[in-house]
Symmetry: C2
Subunit: 359 residues, 2 copies
């Protein structure tokens, strides 16, 4: 079968011929429908993140997949079920984190990430997965099921943020998403659908007219141009924020978030930047953090519970939003276009096979 | 009556003569037993923190008090009850934070802090307090009741830290307290009594023999000399920590805490440093924070619920610990000794009247 992979020493994706996988006990064979592309894929391709599987000369890409069960094996699924796989797998048989359904909390060494680190991804005509790492989704969202993984990542981060404010009465009104990439926009839509924020903001650095600004405003949120209003100025220009969700990977944002928060506010950090030394007014940040009961939570990956929450968020996405955010779905011969990234691109996917509804 | 105050333009405490307060509706009159001294008092005296009450030429000091109800008024208390006051009061009548019992979460402007900011403290022969801001304590701890406020501050910070880890299975084994002042030592004792940490550490910078090191080791914890093992080296020299509790007010500790944490760990920050610019590897900190699901919570003040939790912690303190930590209790004529701060001082208090048990 054909797969999209990056080869050792290369920094561009190519089509490779691989063996169709055979499901082991407890696994299902899934026919791949579509696999999304995100910033992590670009980092993996560039060699800045992730690891090749031991002994392999290539890494099959892709961690945002949706597919159809081809052979359910001894799993709880049936042939024809639409499913989305989670990303982490145990490297040497189940460990405590996987056993309790929290692979997202496993420390380094206790997981592989399919398509990212130590294990092949889903950008292939077929993939296998343990039944417990597959989430059933409604047929109605089969075509956009590749949005479930990024939505699940947002669900987990917001869950951690909300938990951090659970020992007191917290009634947040304002939320700011940092970053107008696909994760930022999906998070904005999820926050709008699942929470009662009165005012939503999204920070980017694009000139109008711009499709992401249209999406932000279509969701009823306020676009903040960081070139005119840097994060540090957001409280004075707009308001201090009860929740800040960082999806830029820009390290200064992690620290400026502290100042952007309202008293008792929380910042969820999701970016994975590289080393970068810079100066901070650490004394003022520390003091502000303490005197106003602020919090920061780092969040990576997601587990089945977050995929399930994200399934509701995905089903609730307005049709116009899906149409605007998914800017391109490309068949295998044209897969390279899915890895282009310019100002007209929001979210792309590669289609491996078409979904046909069961009568 | 006599009170200990700092006058405008001065930076040393003096005895002043003031009117004995008259309880208003809903208030009790309390005869003061003892009032503790802590780092915040020193900052208030030095002018680095807090505010004088509007229109007043002095600020009565003290926010760590224990007393005996002299006139219960229409409160739920009885004459003779041993009580400890909370610190925050509404500046202009009750607001939502006070109404729901969470004055510790009030933003600036929505509270005064007695003895610190905008309202006189408890270092006087008598004070009045609304009944809902008084916590009853057992007679058996009347003499060390001034330890309740700092313990309550530790209870609140740990409550926030634990809440931040409540959305997943968190079974912490190791905790590190930064700072071997009285708050650090009280926190260490509280963590030992109320949690199941297998290994406790406390960081300071003192040479042996030293009374705080004796207390740390008496509690079964490991003393970490930050001159030999800076915080950044703690994970390699000892282990990464599931919980870090910062009670040094040293701004670099707020950032080094991120690296000292184990995956899924949380740092509670309590220090209130002044502005201080320094360089951080913000990219590496951000990346580490995210990839290991770490969290930081800032925490200030405490409410009645935390005082109640602290009452249990106070009653559980071993007698040797109380004796070792309370290094001096001084009558009013000798009050200046309570404000001395050298390597033999851990916790001091001023005694305004002696406690005599009821029959």
């Amino acid at each position: 079968m054909q797969a999209i992979a990056v080869e050792r020493g290369s920094n561009r994706p190519v089509v490779v011929e691989t063996e169709r996988p055979v499901p082991a006990a407890g696994e299902a064979l899934v026919r791949t429908l579509r696999v999304g592309v995100d910033g992590t894929d670009h980092e993996v391709i560039a060699g800045g993140h992730g690891e090749f599987p031991v002994g392999e000369e290539h890494l099959v890409l892709g961690h945002e997949a949706v597919g159809v069960v081809e052979d359910a094996g001894d799993t709880r699924f049936s042939r024809g079920d639409v499913v989305v796989p989670t990303v982490r797998r145990p490297p040497d048989g189940p460990n405590e984190y996987f056993r309790r359904g929290e692979p997202d909390m496993a420390p380094e060494g206790a997981y592989h990430e399919r398509g990212i680190s130590g294990a092949h991804g889903f950008m292939a005509e077929y993939f296998t997965s343990p039944g417990e790492s597959l989430v059933a989704v409604p047929e109605s969202v089969a075509e956009v099921g590749f949005l479930l993984e990024p939505l699940s990542v947002a669900e987990k981060a917001v869950e951690l943020a909300v938990a951090s404010r659970s020992s007191f009465t917290w009634e947040p009104e304002s939320a700011l998403v940092l970053g107008n990439g696909s994760l930022g926009l999906l998070t904005l839509a999820m926050l709008r659908d699942q929470f009662d924020f009165e005012r939503l903001y999204c920070l980017g650095r694009r000139d109008r007219p711009d499709p992401t600004i249209d999406v932000i405003e279509g969701l009823g949120a306020t676009y903040v141009d960081s070139r005119a209003t840097p994060l540090a100025d957001v409280p004075s220009a707009h308001e201090p924020m009860d929740l800040v969700f960082e999806a830029t990977g820009y390290a200064k944002h992690a620290f400026e978030t502290i100042r952007a928060l309202a008293p008792n506010g929380v910042g969820a950090l999701l970016g994975v930047p590289n080393a970068w030394e810079f100066e901070v007014d650490g004394g003022t940040l520390h003091r502000d953090f303490v005197l106003h009961n602020k919090a920061l939570v780092g969040s990576v990956n997601s587990n089945v519970r977050h995929f399930e929450a994200a399934t509701d968020a995905l089903a609730a996405l307005p049709a116009w939003f899906r149409d605007a955010v998914v800017t391109g779905v490309y068949d295998l011969p044209d897969f390279e276009a899915a890895f282009d990234d310019d100002d007209t691109t929001i979210k792309t996917a590669v289609q491996f096979s078409a979904y046909e509804e069961r009568r």
